[in-house]
Amino acid sequence: MSSEVAAETASPAKRTLASRIAAVPLLGVFTALVVIFVVSCMLSPHFLTPYNMTIISRTLAFVGLVTLGQSMLMILGELDLSLGAIAGLCGVVGGIMMVQMGWNPWLSFALCLALGTFCGMFNGFLVVALRLHSLVLTIGMAGVYGGANLVATKGVAITGIPDAIRVLGNSKLYGVPVPFVILVVALIVITFMAVKTPFGRYLYAIGNNPPAARMLGIRVDTIRVLVFAAAGFLSALAGMLMVARLGTAQPSIGEGWVLAPIAASVIGGVATTGGVGSPIGAILGAAIIGIIENIIVLFGVSPYWQSMVSGAIVVLAISFDSISRRYLRREG
């Protein structure tokens, strides 16, 4: 549909300002985040306090790590609904190792990260080897990992996590909670990987068009398994940091980390169909959800209403993004 002569002579300057703004990735979600942040500051005097910022950033850190993994899977065109269960399982296994078996805390920590990596990799292996749909498979695996959690703990929390580990969840580095620092480091590493390495390009290529990616000689199945493994690792890390934060290994850890990371990724511009979006966008999306949930609590909304209100605001947020994009595109 392009006219050959015109394509050469047309200058980019003719594009309207609106269309150029619409073309900037992450601008929509970033603007939304800023607006929500500013509005929150105006609405509540308790919002922009060091104490509240600590709470928001630390909560964001846990769900953010899972979101990083989920967003990579979504870019690849897959989903893993068992990431929350993996986080919970790794958390309680860590508790058992450290408290009940008295193993070295750091060794236990590392073993649990390895366990999470293995669980994710196993999901990936089943998806690849049996050609299963990842959504359905991981619903089942969530039951398996969640069940293993209950078998191991009988639903009872394990208290008495060693101080060496608790420091990870509770201390600050230059005033910033350590879990948040870990999230930022993970985000930088993954963003670099996504933008500047062949592996990152393969991720997008596979999410765009799996048959074409195979035709190009990309090892599609290997990459799928690796990304599932990475998501498992990040979820285990989130679970262990949560254990460190609480000082107890709660069997319920990870229960809220299934749908929020998917919603965050979509708000941040990751397409559910794969091949589009970025981990940074997903984290910005997670931050939007985090701030909304925080401000609802600050307002003293009844706990019975909280879930409904925050759900409705998430729907509003994605509708706003979708509508504004369509409007800007039409202008261009």
Binding site: S2, S3, E4, V5, A6, P12, Y202, M215, V276
Partner: protein
């Protein structure tokens, strides 16, 4: 006044003028051909005529009335897109009458028996080999194509039928069936718009032709007053010779790829040898197993038995990654399905192939990538307003050039080219022949699958014919006449898609 009259329409997209001062008149009871190279503006013009896309200026009159004043006039236009657009898991009858309110099934409850009965009438009339209750996914591609036309006909109001390259996936016999239907509709007084790259089809079915070039109308002619060379000259703006051959002028070198007794789904016991510096043609009917064999060789579909030797070493079966690492590239006839990464940019689509050159240390060098991508875009003359444009917004011809360009940037030793000129206009065909010739002369071994025998004879030094999954012959192009090739291609069966 003509039934459909277009005056001075103009359409601009960001960075591109797609249509510029286009005029057109289409009469009832005629088949009006749109001819033009890829990117000439045919698809954009069609979208304007169907009312899907508003134009920036100019007028479209249908039946003497201005469509700008009455949008419902576009209901008179039925459009059958190039890509199959059916619901595979729904029945033939449901596909036929969807959306139901426009085809007389407006009630709240659908009458299954009435739908079946009326569907049967359309199936008979359009000679579609299917039952009304059959799932569309289970019927032949050609029947699906006819079903789309029948679907247009169920809209009681249609007077103009637009067919965008309807014959791309049809065999010669199926094309005849389609043409019979087109003539029937023409004689009923419908106005038909027919878009195709195939000259023989244009001359067979067309009444009048409008030639587009660079978004402008170059001319209108009655089909019986124009010759093929004249038409090609109007489309390309210059002379293109049809008798030129592109056989590599260097002697073939040592064998580079040897396939021994390879069997798999769709092909049996295939053995052949490819030498450096030759173009080896594969001829056969659609469904003869050529693509299946080559996808087996490349590893995209895993062969069951057999052996492949590449540059003296045995190649792992069923691994495209191993083939690519060994210097074998496969360019599929399914550009959209197997080629482009739609939502990635032109730069990323080309860059994905050359990462071993741009990221030797594991980190992609932006400047190195820009320099390789830039030279591919220049060398292969890829028209795009920006490198960062998503490749799905490029015209089909430019997508094809990008895919070829990125393959060449990898410097392959063996190139398997499946229907390299499918859906490509005459000028770009010649460009592709030239590229293949010069690659062969540099020592690349090229396998070319084509359903156009004339094209194989212009390019390939040797031609292997396949019939029903087996290799039925091997011929030297210079010393073999077309009849011998045709009989090897059709085996004992009927003649179908041989040009």
């Amino acid at each position: 006044m003509a039934f459909l009259r277009v005056q001075g329409i103009r359409k601009e997209f960001p960075g591109v003028v797609a249509l510029d001062n286009v005029d057109l008149e289409i009469e009832r009871g005629t088949v009006h051909v749109f001819a033009g190279e890829n990117g000439a503006g045919k698809s954009t013009l069609i979208r304007a005529l169907t009312g899907i896309m508003p134009v920036d200026s100019g007028t479209i009159h249908i039946d003497g009335r201005d469509t700008a004043e009455d949008k419902s006039l576009f209901d008179l236009v039925a459009y059958v897109p190039q890509e199959l657009n059916v619901f595979p898991h729904m029945s033939v009858a449901e596909n036929l009458f969807m959306p139901f309110d426009k085809s007389g099934f407006g009630g709240a409850v659908l009458s299954g028996s009435r739908m079946t009965r009326e569907a049967q009438e359309y199936l008979d009339r359009f000679d579609i080999h299917a039952r009304p209750d059959q799932a569309v996914g289970s019927i032949a591609v050609s029947d699906r194509q006819l079903l789309q036309i029948a679907r247009a006909a169920t809209k009681k109001s249609f007077q103009i039928l637009i067919l965008d390259e309807p014959t791309t996936s049809l065999t010669t016999k199926e094309i005849e069936r389609l043409f019979k239907i087109i003539r029937q509709l023409r004689d009923e007084g419908k106005a038909i718009v027919f878009v195709s790259h195939k000259m023989d089809e244009i001359f067979e079915i067309g009444t009048t032709v409008t030639v587009l070039r660079n978004g402008q109308t170059v001319g209108h002619r009655a089909m019986d007053e124009v010759t093929e060379p004249e038409l090609i000259r109007m489309m390309s703006g210059g002379e293109i010779r049809l008798d030129q051959t592109f056989l590599p002028e260097t002697e073939p070198g040592e064998p580079i790829l040897t396939v021994e007794h390879l069997s798999g789904r769709g092909f049996t016991d295939a053995s052949f040898t490819l030498r450096r510096g030759e173009i080896l043609g594969f001829a056969g009917l659609i469904g003869a197993g050529r693509s299946e064999l080559m996808q087996g060789v490349f590893g995209y579909k895993k062969p069951k038995h057999g052996r492949i030797v590449l540059k003296g070493e045995e190649l792992r079966l069923g691994s495209p990654a191993a083939s690519v690492a060994g210097g074998v590239l496969y360019l599929s006839e399914e550009r959209k399905l197997h080629g482009i990464l739609p939502t990635l940019s032109v730069r990323e689509n080309i860059g994905i192939s050359v990462l071993d050159q741009t990221a030797p240390s594991g980190v992609i060098s932006g400047s190195r990538e820009r320099s390789i991508v830039g030279s591919v875009i220049d060398d292969y003359d890829i028209k795009t307003s920006s490198w960062e444009k998503k490749i799905m917004f490029l015209s089909g011809g430019n997508q094809q050039k990008a895919i070829i360009g990125r393959a060449m940037a990898r410097r392959p030793d063996v190139l398997i080219f499946d229907e390299p000129t499918r859906g490509i206009d005459v000028r770009n065909k010649v460009e592709i022949y030239k590229i293949m010739k010069s690659l062969a002369e540099e020592g690349v071994g090229i396998i070319m699958i084509s359903s156009e025998l004339a094209e194989l004879k212009r390019c390939a030094t040797r031609i292997i014919t396949m019939h029903d999954g087996e290799i039925s012959g091997e011929f030297d192009t210079m010393t073999t006449d077309a009849d011998t090739l045709v009989s090897a291609i059709i085996g004992s069966g009927e003649l179908r898609h041989v040009v």
